[in-house]
Symmetry: C2
Subunit: 121 residues, 2 copies
DNA sequence: AGCTTTCATAAGTCTAGACTTATCTAAGTG
DNA sequence: CACTTAGATAAGTCTAGACTTATGAAAGCT
């Protein structure tokens, strides 16, 4: 075989905007710390800020990113807003990673076992 | 109960440098595209660059980040360097997410079921 | 009604990092 | 050998985004 196509100009396959947001959200250490606090136990913004060496607005901004990524949800409780982890959002990311893992492992064993198409240029 | 401790000054728990590198590596869309090409089939640097709208040095730099994060490995093949996905690196990230998922789901059902310690201030 | 608390948002700063072009080395090819 | 090809690295630019302080809007408290 070895189709005579040009180098396939562009894969175009993307992880989708949601996965992109979630990876971006968890890539920052401070934001991960915010998430760790919130997921351990539901917390208000100021309660999170009290445990981290950053300002309250910084925490609000991190929680906004986590909320947009569907990794946390907010529930108004009087003047406070209680943030908690949203399992549904994390489930999406987990599915994505699992799929990736299956693909990678599959390609790996297939390369190790007999058939090796090797590199493509 | 309600322990009389101060707000627990800092969690200090971090995902570790390796997970941090891997999340950071996969958080960039272009780098994810590089990874997608390489994981689909082992490729040289120029083969990757030919399929993406970025320069060859950009691809080299992305592959460096992916390599440092143990997500890809390089094998010299003459003047070329063949890059392929490293399952071991991805396994680390997958384990981390799975652990996170277990924790989050656990906290969620525990909050839903009876015992609700609610927010902590 | 004021005064306080809680939080989001606005606006500005400053650094990380995603790109570029310009090399330099190493390995193949005539 | 000269010449090309492959890729890494250096150096510089420019934007995203992680912070800050300042302020405004709700909600509770006395």
């Amino acid at each position: 075989m070895t189709s005579p196509e040009p180098p396939t100009p562009f894969p175009g396959r993307d992880a989708g905007p949601k996965i992109d947001q979630q990876l971006h959200a968890l890539a920052d250490p401070t934001r991960r710390a915010v998430y760790d606090i919130v997921r351990t136990g539901p917390s208000s913004v100021s309660a999170v800020a009290a445990r981290l060496p950053v300002s309250q607005p910084a925490v609000s901004q991190h929680l906004r990113v986590l909320s947009d990524a569907r990794l946390v949800t907010a529930t108004p409780r009087g003047a406070r807003r209680i943030y908690r982890a949203d399992p549904a959002g994390l489930a999406d990311l987990r599915r994505w990673i699992d799929q990736l893992w299956d693909d990678v492992l599959d390609a790996y064993v297939q390369a190790a076992t007999g058939a090796e198409p090797e590199e493509e240029r």
